[in-house]
Symmetry: D2
Subunit: 249 residues, 4 copies
């Protein structure tokens, strides 16, 4: 089997340059183009890339992805800014391009994606569930989007399984130690110098605890997810949102 | 919907007496019989139990379960000692009893069962995988059966996904600090006073870690699994081995 | 060396009955009296106890301890309710009883006491510090007294070492995920079925994390602390508040 | 108070270049010289440095440190290779240089140094103690020197406190899951891609666990220790081996 030909768009950014390196190092992949912000997308077509990895900025990403999809290039997208309207338009376009696929992935950390999937499964079976996230102290918002999303998915899975509120007899909490409550699930945010991004999901039932933890130490954490998506997208078509769609779960 | 009528066989043992209490406390279940070692199984039939929970001893369990299945009582079995021969004979019997089900579960800890399932899924995506188990210091064997089984399932999932050996440059390990190697997966056993039974499964890839941990603090840890099985078995038929078959995964 | 003769006051309570068992099992100790709530303190004197362990109720404890100290019995006290006035009066009494000692200990968990001591030492050297406590969901208040006290001691140690506020760029925290802030230290409280009482203290600096965790699984967690105090008190005199005073730190 | 003038010897290595940056960024310190392997030590004297940070290679370090100490420059040494003979010769030299100090520190991670100190204190009070270390899979030896040293110090502290062997009923361990045994303390080594260097020290007693964990994510983990030593050494004299001597413990 010949190598998959891969182009990186946004190759000079932090994620992009890491992707360039990771693709170069990966078995079965060949880097055929690496475009900076001033390069023309035509170079991707000229390079005869099978797959493009789009890691640019919210303003540019929709035009880039449409250009590539129209020309039959499967595209793995890590740029944010894909709202419902953009996604609907892209799905329409892909419907006219049978055999071409696009993956929009807000998080390429396989660990984070698996953890969320596991949390959803576990949520059916445990009375208690809480989420703790730890990030570097430069982060501006709390809780993290991942923790928020995890809590929402736990809450939905609990509802489907018929659980009522988590057990909690707290009467006095004058300082707010019980943290945020997202759809009934408590979420706690720690800010700690030296840490990058971690999440710990706690489940408890009678006499038993289940804890799922993910740590991402650096940008390189996202590379295995990008490589997995690049290898998988050739056998897919249409639009997928979320790396979990490309994993065997 | 009327309550499920439940009989416990082996009700005076440690697991059995905990099961009696848990079934009494569970919504939707009614305890209709609790048999000690000198009681006749006929009492289960007389009690019109829908489901029997068999928690006796290896010597007695096969006869008990066959007696119950022949009379159409769905049976949840926590007793060990079910080798391949016994299982095959029971499957044959169940084939003649359409609508009756038996679940043989070596481990009723939902956390442990989920952790093993999660480990199998994660094993496809991480370069490194190791297992640590922590038990009370009265345990006679190392590693635990659960840790051994977890390592085997990780190894099988890795093989299916095309992984080769875990990365490990160790040249000098004069004291055996790298632990047991089970099908290529390293397994470590800690013995610690005050602990009961815990397992921590470590996965690592570039820039990222995923850790799955289960703690069982007491016999009560097995009750949610028994209750879940009792509630589910009415909609099943035939033989299942392993609680995971009765969970939504 | 002959065994230390020990009396337990409040022997029918949860802590008291565990203490009775632990003292019976300990090398070098002899249980000579175990008093329930209707027994007279005179029995302690009659038993010729060297040490009394007082585990009663706030209303009774001061009179009990004074009675014992006046008669030269070293007393280890686990009952709460010792405010500044009571302590001052007891210190005065002990000043008149050279050679007699009393230890008032709000927490006999050696792990918790050590963790707090370690946290105080570490606080001088780390930019970031946060406290997470996990308790059973029947607990009425959050955060736990231990977590609150830990945060206060960390804050004091930081102040002495010249630290300013912990680094934290959080601008948006609409749901309170950053938890309680006690003297500038964030404290988070998790409520989880199956857990008893755990505390995790997080320290972070550039490229490095230090985490100290204690878990107490049951009442038996307090027995090693009580035994340690009983063995140590014979070589002490006067009043001590806090088990840490009897440890080698 | 004027800034402390600091020279870095070995400034082009991985540790050295990180130290140059950290000293530049630190309040109260001024970087006055940064020497590569071809620069003459005379530049340190010419720069009027108060403190030198020596981060070179085992072959060069002794001559470098002697040269600096003879000229009254306090020297913080992170280079390995200081055996008993070298240390004895340096102590002799320092005896002739009152007011000059040298610190030989095999590990500048404050977390690791504190963890070892805490482990030593805790070892007196817990029946069970085990050490787990996690390192990147490129590491050639197992267990790590830090884990080995931690186990030795725990063993010594236990012996001093009168403890006998840790409780362990293991009869069957065909694969070596109980790991290395160093002076009676079990040590386990995990190799995991994505990790750098972590250590987890487990203590257990009746109903209770104490866990101390350190993670060093990168070379920057050693900078707070170097900065602390540079700030402290001016008030010291003579030889110290181990960063712990310069911490308030």
């Amino acid at each position: 089997m010949s190598d998959i030909r891969v182009a990186v768009i946004g190759a000079s950014g932090r994620m992009g340059s890491a992707a360039v390196e990771a693709i170069r190092a990966a078995d079965g992949l060949e880097l055929v183009a690496a475009l900076g912000s001033s390069d023309s997308l035509g170079a991707v077509i000229a390079s005869e890339a099978d797959v493009a990895v789009e890691l640019t900025v919210p303003k540019a990403t929709e035009d880039n992805v449409r250009f590539l999809v129209e020309r039959g290039v499967d595209t793995v997208v890590g740029t944010t800014g894909w709202d419902a309207d953009r996604l609907a338009r892209l799905a329409d376009l892909l419907a006219q391009q049978p055999g071409t696929a696009a993956l929009i992935a807000p998080n390429f950390s396989i660990g984070a994606v698996l953890a969320m999937h596991f949390a959803e499964l576990a949520a059916r079976y445990f009375d208690s569930a809480e989420v703790v996230e730890i990030h570097h102290p430069r982060k501006l918002d709390a809780p993290s989007g991942t923790a928020l999303h995890t809590a929402q998915r736990i809450a939905r899975a609990r509802a489907e399984a018929g659980w009522e509120a988590v057990p909690d007899a707290t009467e006095a909490d004058p300082h707010g130690a019980r943290g945020a409550v997202i759809d009934g699930i408590h979420v706690h945010a720690i800010r700690q110098l030296g840490m990058n991004a971690s999440e710990e999901i706690h489940f408890g039932t009678s006499g038993e605890a289940l804890t799922i933890r993910t740590d991402t130490f650096s940008t390189s954490a996202f590379m295995p997810g990008i490589i997995t998506a690049v290898k998988e997208i050739g056998s897919r078509s249409g639009l997928a949102v979320g790396l979990e769609n490309y994993l065997t779960l």
